[in-house]
Symmetry: C2
Subunit: 426 residues, 2 copies
């Protein structure tokens, strides 16, 4: 018997998506709990598969940080199981009434939430991401094609097999080769959405090689603006957290914009803290006066996502200049203001057009879990469909349902035609 | 002085978009009313420009139907003015709170609606569409680049100039050449969304030649399924309206699926009505028995958007077969069931994955105005961002606003870290 082609498998997945979209809340909750139990009872299988991946990675001399991400420890399995159980607690995302309007007595229009269909997720090495993404897809009634990092091949294969056995195989498909990714990107007839998670270069590659809508972000150049009226201690705390709490994250700050009136007090203290913490500073001509250890900034420093203990600092003469700098240089992911002034906060919230705009807190809060979305499928810096941390709702579309009693448009046409009364019902 | 390039003009438009996004409801309402007054007092200018276009079109021997669309009569100006005034009545789409959640006491997250930014609208000949689209953009705080049909060049130019004089020129730009369209499609850094309205071939061309997100629909292959339990008179009324009330519209029905149990009674009556109305029928082998005037259907008839007094008819043996046919052949724009059974309605609503799913009414109701959306920028058959008739809300994105008091992620990390309480505030 000939093997199924990837296209045939994806077409089968569309049928699975159809079945899942009409399943009950209870059925999807039960399936999630079944996956959670199966993971719990398959720890030995998972451990063996993960050991193979870890061994191969070590042999290839992979970096310790990556090795740590690759390891699917008992603790991570516990937390994956916990995550699946929490997904069950979230309200059913399918069939929620988003709008309801009577067009005329008894002629009722409703817009209800509905799964998107078939989603392709292409992500990096972490096996826990696979479980989370599969869980979000199942909860939201979407079929999913998963392409994980090749370093985690054995672990991912084991996980897809455990999940399929527990919750059916018609809605989940794991693919492994880079070639398969290119095939997927060409299947705009069968795949409704692509969510890439990985390096900037990879996300850009995906965006440029497919006609399927893509949700993702390529850059995270986040700025913190310290207003003239900021509390200096608070500003220091936020600057340090935004830059150093996890510098490799996309929501870490790369740029600090400091109002000239607070610069003489704030910058020497920031320089001292950053020096203690080993943060390398690229300072503009005004800032460098207060930060003698800093390196002189070149223009490109303000367009760089350092992703490490390194940042750019600029003194601005007004909040307008800060907002303009952000408009020009930020990647519109997350930008924050530290201020004691309600007016400055309002101006910043109004005029900064980024996915996340924060006041008096760290940029690192930009995250689906911290936002209370349950879990996140990614962070979108695009403006279409979803923006910022994307939870279950980003995996939903809607459909319009209209119920009449034989109404025709002809009756509602012409000068003597019936008129719509358009009465909102919610 | 060198003329500005299109790119410079679009970059200037981004600034205008920024200004408009932070304008007050009152400012945008006043601007709309100013445009309405300006149109009213510039009728003579509009008439002259439109006469030039009509004369040129006649000389080129344009079809009478197109000529009628091109004519911007006093009646159409009245209705455009009326439309602008109605837009003022709609609630302000900017700054609506979509979600609000306390992450921890006093640490409040809010998701608010915000304009998308710069939208490119590329549409066909009708000058009234230009006024409607400009009005929707202004109401929603978006800057807009408008490329109208070249047949309406003089009228469009006059309208853009009247609108700019009345409401400022920094948010609206008219472009005229086909070359400009290609330049626009390449400007994914500066344009946030493209909405093409025109022929299928044109919409497809746009989708295939840009990395900017596109909202649009290429095909409208809509089906009406007549269930076994349908009221025959109602089914006839709906079939006639769906097919003949305006056959050139994308929401006109192209396919009729008829349950075998009702076919012997329904189809001869449908054949008689369609014969009176001049509707040409392509019937499958079973249907043709009851519709002797019909032509034998070939498979491609069920994948054809006739857009004229022509349709395809097929007898199905179950509602499942109807739903499967729709899954395979419909363009997922609008599909309707006529039924007397609540269970059939539920099954159809659940299992048909189209933008609009109707019960016991004409497919022709799929329209932003009829849906009560105020006006429509188009109809989306895509599933991402907007689906079905797209009103003001399709021109909006959102941003997340988070206000704290110095919170850092470090405080919320580790085993003894603070916990989020995630309390919903709306």
């Amino acid at each position: 018997m000939a093997e199924k082609t990837l296209q045939e498998m994806i077409m089968a997945l569309r049928k699975g998506a159809g079945r899942l979209s009409s399943s009950s809340d209870k059925e999807r909750q039960d399936a999630l709990l079944a996956v959670a139990s199966a993971l719990d009872s398959s720890r030995e299988i998972i451990r063996k598969a993960n050991e193979e991946d870890l061994k191969a990675a070590e042999e290839r001399g992979i970096q310790p940080a990556l090795l740590k991400r690759l390891a699917f420890t008992d603790e991570k399995i516990d937390s994956s199981i916990q995550g699946l159980r929490e997904l069950c607690q979230l309200p059913d995302p399918i069939g929620r009434t988003l709008e309801k309007r009577e067009l005329d007595p008894g002629f009722v229009l409703e817009r209800v939430s509905f799964p998107i269909g078939v989603i392709a997720m292409i992500f990096e090495a972490r096996p826990d991401a696979l479980v989370q993404i599969a869980g979000l897809s199942l909860r939201s009634g979407n079929a999913v094609v998963l392409k994980g990092g090749s370093e985690a091949r054995n672990t991912n294969r084991a996980l897809v097999s455990i999940i399929s056995e527990a919750a059916g195989s018609d809605w989940i498909l794991g693919v492994e080769s880079h070639e398969d990714v290119n095939t997927l990107l060409g299947m705009d007839k069968y795949i409704d959405l692509v969510i890439p998670r990985g390096s900037n270069a990879f996300v850009r590659y995906v965006m440029e090689h497919t006609r399927i809508p893509v949700i993702g972000h390529a850059d995270g150049i986040c700025a913190v603006y310290i207003d003239a009226s900021a509390n200096v201690d608070m500003a220091l705390r936020i600057a340090v957290d935004s830059k150093t709490q996890y510098p490799a994250a996309c929501n870490a700050a790369e740029t600090f914009l400091v109002h000239k009136d607070i610069a003489p007090e704030f910058l020497p203290k920031l320089a001292a803290r950053f020096s203690e913490l080993g943060v390398k500073v690229h300072a503009d001509d005004t800032a460098i006066v207060y930060m003698p250890e800093a390196q002189k900034a070149v223009p490109s420093d303000f367009d760089t996502e350092f992703l490490s203990l390194e940042c750019a600092v600029k003194v601005v003469s007004s909040i307008d200049e800060a907002v303009e700098h952000i408009a020009e240089h930020s990647s519109h992911h997350t930008d924050a203001i530290v201020t004691g002034s309600e007016e400055s906060k309002r101006f910043f919230f109004q005029n900064v057009d980024s996915a996340d705009v924060f006041c008096n807190c760290s940029t690192r809060f930009a995250d689906g879990f911290r936002f209370g979305l349950g879990a996140e499928v990614g962070i979108s810096t695009g403006k279409i469909h979803a923006r910022g941390p994307v939870g279950l709702s980003g995996l939903m579309t809607s459909k319009w349902l209209l119920t009449g009693h034989g109404e025709t448009v002809a009756e509602y046409s012409g000068k003597n035609g019936k008129q719509f009364h358009h009465k909102e019902l919610i």
